[in-house]
């Protein structure tokens, strides 16, 4: 899709023709499938927001972060802290507060990390994310340590208090409402990110990715732009972390630990990092894959590892990249 977009300028009509049916299905879905499936899809959409943010750096700016667990975890812990220590139950306040915090931290971390590129960038992001992990792990009297912090959905309110989940039969009601809430934010994030990557700024990022020196000789301020992309990327991933909390009900240091960063990379590559829709597809598929693997075998990591090996060796362009190539071949005939 991104390829088409950069060729002609995206054709709005074509995009709408693709997007509207998908949206209709997504909106109607809770009528047809059970709560558990809705819950899984909600997780998938949340990871998709994280993947979109992550891919602004990997796919569009050419920077591989191995520390995006930091921003996901920061968002999650911000919301959990607000719930536990300030008795906040409003999702909107979680979002505002959490975005402020992840925004500030990703601005600070980004300022440091964009001084390097390539492998050094990856190691820097990794090291900084692990600083946060050890803090969450060691300051157990604040963070609950490995037991984590509980955020029961019963205290949650959506839309400034319009919707709450006290009393009523609840888990099902929560899952449905929350699904639509996440779906709405997912749509907003997708549109936002789509505009960003098709904006002059997004083009400049791609130019930096392709050819740093030449971008500089066109007057593009490279480090500055990388930093801004980092900030946006971290904030998107942070938002995903915030949304993840009420659904999961529990925050533990695991989401700050570096293998979770690896999972974010995995999802994005699974979908295809050189396409706009890749991380979305990748996140949803990855979530199903992982849930399925965990449910069916104690050795789910092994299964995921094998999938990743096959992916890297045989399908490096990911699901979306491979499909669009097949589709392209089909059309040429």
């Amino acid at each position: 899709m991104q390829n088409d977009a950069s060729r002609t300028g995206p054709s709005m009509l074509l995009i709408l023709a693709c997007v509207i049916p998908i949206l209709v299905v997504l909106v109607a879905l809770p009528k047809f499938v059970d709560t558990y499936q809705i819950q899984l899809l909600t997780y998938g959409l949340i990871y998709a927001i994280a993947g979109l943010g992550f891919n602004l750096l990997l796919g569009y700016t050419g920077l591989l972060s191995f520390g995006h667990s930091a921003y996901f975890g920061l968002g999650a812990y911000s919301a959990a802290f607000m719930a536990k220590y300030f008795g906040v139950g409003s999702m909107e306040i979680y979002i505002l507060g959490g975005l402020l915090i992840t925004g500030l931290v990703s601005a600070a971390f980004g300022y440091i990390c964009v001084r390097h590129t390539r492998i050094f960038f990856g190691i820097l992001t990794l090291a900084l994310s692990q600083v946060l992990w050890t803090l969450a792990y060691k300051f157990f009297w604040v963070t609950g340590g490995t037991d984590g912090l509980r955020v029961p959905f019963a205290n949650l309110t959506l839309l400034g208090g319009l919707i709450d989940f006290k009393g009523r039969d609840t888990y099902q009601a929560f899952t449905q409402s929350y699904y639509y809430y996440v779906l709405f934010l997912f749509c907003i994030c997708t549109v936002f990110m789509w505009v960003i990557v098709h904006s002059p700024f997004g083009k400049a990022l791609q130019a930096i990715r392709d050819n740093e020196t030449r971008a500089q000789f066109l007057g593009v301020r490279i480090r500055h732009y990388r930093w801004f992309a980092f900030l946006l990327s971290g904030s998107f991933t942070g938002l995903a972390g915030i949304l993840w909390v009420p659904l999961n009900g529990l925050v533990t240091p695991d989401i700050l630990y570096w293998p979770f960063s690896g999972e974010i990379v995995f999802m994005t590559v699974l979908g295809g990092f050189r396409t706009f829709t890749g991380p979305i597809v990748g996140a949803v598929v990855f979530n199903y894959l992982k849930v399925y693997a965990v449910a069916s075998t104690a050795y789910w990591q092994l299964l995921l590892g094998v999938v990743l090996v096959v992916l890297v060796l045989a399908l490096p362009t990911g699901i979306v990249g491979t499909l669009s190539r097949l589709f392209g071949k089909f059309r040429k005939r």
Partner: protein
């Protein structure tokens, strides 16, 4: 009036005096060719003036202002643009997007993440005009990596040109293309540059090209200016002829700049 002036400019790589005490002035609207054997310091001189390298000593004045210590970005904003000997494009972007990027950058719009690039019709129109000037209209949707070598060379120049610079450095814009395409590329470049009143400094090995298009020729050897003058004066300079037409001899060092 002098647009560019370098005063005693030096750039050493260890023992190698790549640019050795060069004082050169370029007048406005001049079309100057830099010639000399490989390793004479032509590209290094351009690299220093365009801020890819820092000079070791000496001064660079642009429109009378001292720009010796300014960054690449500042020099681009001041109006110095360049193309590259080894083509330097955004390979995963289309020819059209390559050019729009230069225009967006010139207009200070690249920091804007909230508008759609392809809806900026003014920029699109200008980009199409630039592509047309460089005979690349039919290639606008092609990715830069898919273009032919001559087209890539032209696109490289078009990117620099789209910045609307006062001073344009072209580092071997016709290297690696066939003799037939060479003339076409140079005609295109010359007509655009002359038409817009841009000052151009071109590094070129093909003396036919140099004699045909230049107002002035600057001959470099071993990092220093050996001679300069009109094409006629240079043509009749025996010393220059020996260096350029002879095998450039034992004096030329092997380092490719």
């Amino acid at each position: 009036m002098n647009l560019l002036e370098t005063i005693n400019l030096k750039k050493y790589f260890g023992e190698t005096h790549a640019v050795d005490n060069v004082s050169l002035t370029i007048a406005e609207r001049e079309f100057v060719s830099l010639v000399g054997p490989n390793g004479a310091g032509k590209t290094t001189l351009v690299n220093v003036v365009s801020a890819l390298f820092r000079s070791d000593s000496g001064k660079i004045l642009f429109k009378g202002d001292d720009i010796t210590h300014t960054s690449v970005t500042e020099r681009v904003k001041a109006g110095i643009a360049r193309s590259f000997q080894i083509v330097n494009l955004f390979d995963d972007l289309t020819a059209f997007d390559n050019v729009t990027l230069a225009i967006f950058s010139r207009q200070g719009k690249t920091g804007n993440p909230a508008t759609l690039a392809h809806l900026d019709h003014e920029v699109s129109a200008e980009a199409d005009a630039v592509l047309a000037q460089f005979n690349l209209t039919s290639k606008r949707k092609e990715h830069a990596r898919d273009l032919a070598q001559g087209e890539r060379k032209l696109l490289d120049v078009a990117l620099a040109y789209a910045l609307k610079p006062k001073l344009l450095f072209l580092d071997e814009p016709t290297s690696g293309v066939s003799t037939r395409d060479k003339g076409q590329i140079m005609d295109t470049i010359a007509s655009v540059v002359r038409g817009e009143g841009i000052t151009a400094v071109i590094i070129e090995h093909d003396m036919d090209v140099v004699f045909k298009y230049s107002d002035r020729i600057v001959v470099m050897q071993q990092g220093a200016i050996l001679a300069q003058g009109t094409p006629d004066a240079i043509r009749n300079n025996d010393q220059v002829a020996m260096i350029l037409l002879g095998t450039s001899g034992p004096d030329a060092f092997t380092r490719k700049d």
